[in-house]
């Protein structure tokens, strides 16, 4: 059973993982790649545990034709170095 339903705009793009992520209660991150979204995958899995979430999004937003108008969810901001 899906742990939660999460809208794509509530997920964060992680440049290092090249995936959209959302916090998992185990401490790790649920992850789903743009390629997965493109083919209609709606399950984001956590690499550390058995839990997964259902991602709510419009498949058209990730199809190749529309790649230039992709919605941009909250991006991780650069960390200021003191």
């Amino acid at each position: 059973m899906s742990y939660d339903d999460v809208e794509i705009e509530d997920m964060e793009w992680n440049e290092e993982l090249k995936a959209f992520t959302y916090p998992c209660p185990c401490g790790d991150l649920f992850q789903i790649t743009k390629d997965e979204l493109k083919i209609g995958e709606e399950i984001a899995r956590c690499p550390s545990c058995s839990l997964y979430i259902t991602v709510i999004y419009n498949m058209e937003d990730f199809s190749d034709q529309k790649s230039k108008t992709n919605i941009e969810p909250a991006k991780q901001q650069p960390v200021a170095v003191a």
Binding site: E12, D28, Q77
Partner: protein, 388 residues
């Protein structure tokens, strides 16, 4: 301390234990692995306050030194870098500030000084640092908006923060960060996010004794024993954008929040749970269906299997719960996949189970303090015994 002064021929022995998810170094064991049974941490001999976040920990020593360890990839450890720390390390920048209160969120941290200043660091993507921007910080930065106010407590959730201010005009609770689930409590409408602290509405007449944040939940406990919650609903109930008093005939002394449940301790030492329909059945879909609540309103439930044991402390992880009794016994239940229940397995449990902490059995001279991060658990146990 009081006991120490009263009885000269006794000594206090304090032990710190940890278990559960540990692949970011959050257990302080010096290893990057999950632990299914409690691990004794020799380095941490004396602690006055501990706060556990998504995968990092903040500890306060009696000498008011701040130590942090675990995941540091967003700067949440305040060490001036973005690396994990497997062992407790002092936050040098806070050395001279006399820190009295701390809170660890999912990936951010808050520190309150004796003089009432608030410092934050870590992930700031949602404005949860309260610094007026959406940048992350790897060193604690003073929240300048509160420069001339007196902050007493800080509570960090997944993507938001609460601050409790004390002053001539009474108590005030402020919030900042993500408000997508109503967790800011600043207005009747949901706010996407704010990066500068704003006053929580509806608590103006309430004398607030403590504030709590975890996941997308927020809560405040009043001095007269009432609990107010806002943010994401419990057990399938709708989101609430303003503080909502939990209706109950009991008086509450402590409350903790998970990602889908709240634990509440009554003045009679009884534990109640709000929401938590997943609790202890996360790994068992069949059981989950049985546990589903039909009602549209979350109601307070008693915890089964405690048989009138007097509970003195509670803690909530994202999906697990911990309590301690007046004899220092520690019990856990909920999701166990990472060993966060400390029972030697990865099973879930729907009712509290006793955790074995080494060879020592509980007795009247023992007290435990319990703390939970998202998927891990810490216990600080004090034993008072006669000197040999």
């Amino acid at each position: 301390m009081e006991a120490k002064e009263r009885v000269n021929d006794t000594e206090e022995k304090e032990e710190a234990w940890s278990w559960g998810a540990g692949t970011e170094g959050q257990l302080g064991t010096g290893k990057l692995q999950d632990e299914h049974i409690p691990q004794l941490l020799p380095i941490l001999s004396s602690l006055s306050l501990l706060s556990c976040g998504g995968a990092h920990v903040i500890a306060l020593t009696p000498g008011k030194m701040v130590l942090t360890w675990g995941r540091g990839t967003s700067g949440q450890l305040g060490h001036g870098n973005l690396v994990n720390s497997l062992e407790p390390k002092p936050v040098d920048l806070l050395n001279n500030y006399n820190i009295t209160h701390v809170s660890a969120g999912w990936n951010h941290s808050g520190f309150v000084s004796e003089s009432g200043h608030l410092y934050t660091c870590g992930d700031g993507s949602f404005g949860q640092l309260g610094l007026g921007d959406y940048r992350s910080q790897n060193c604690p930065i003073k929240v300048s908006c509160f420069a001339f106010r007196h902050v007493e407590q800080i509570a960090c959730g997944m993507r938001h923060s609460l601050a409790l201010l004390k002053g001539e005009h009474g108590d005030q609770v402020y919030s900042f960060g993500s408000g997508k689930r109503g967790q800011l409590g600043t207005s009747n409408e949901k706010i996407k996010s704010i990066s500068l602290p704003r006053s929580v509405s509806g608590l103006e007449e309430v004398k607030v004794s403590s504030i709590i944040a975890n996941g997308d939940h927020s809560a405040a406990l009043s001095a007269d024993g009432h609990l107010y919650t806002w943010g994401r609903g419990f057990g399938g109930t709708p989101e609430v954008c303003c503080p909502n008093r939990v209706i109950s005939p009991f008086s509450f002394t402590q409350a903790t929040l998970g990602w889908n449940h709240a634990l509440i301790l009554t003045d009679e030492g009884e534990v109640l749970m709000l929401g938590g329909s997943h609790h202890g059945v996360l790994n068992n879909p069949q059981k989950e269906n049985l546990a589903k609540q039909d009602s549209n309103e979350a109601h307070l439930q008693k915890i089964h299997g405690l048989n009138r044991i007097k509970v003195v402390g509670i803690a909530s992880g994202a999906e697990h719960s911990v309590l301690t009794t007046e004899n220092g016994v520690v019990m856990t239940w909920g999701w166990g996949e990472h060993g966060q229940l400390g029972l030697g397995s990865t099973s879930d449990h729907t009712s509290p189970q006793v955790v074995r902490l080494g060879e020592n059995v509980a007795h009247e001279h023992m007290t435990s303090k319990v703390y939970c991060g998202s998927g891990f658990t810490f216990v600080v146990r004090t034993q008072r015994g006669k000197r040999d």
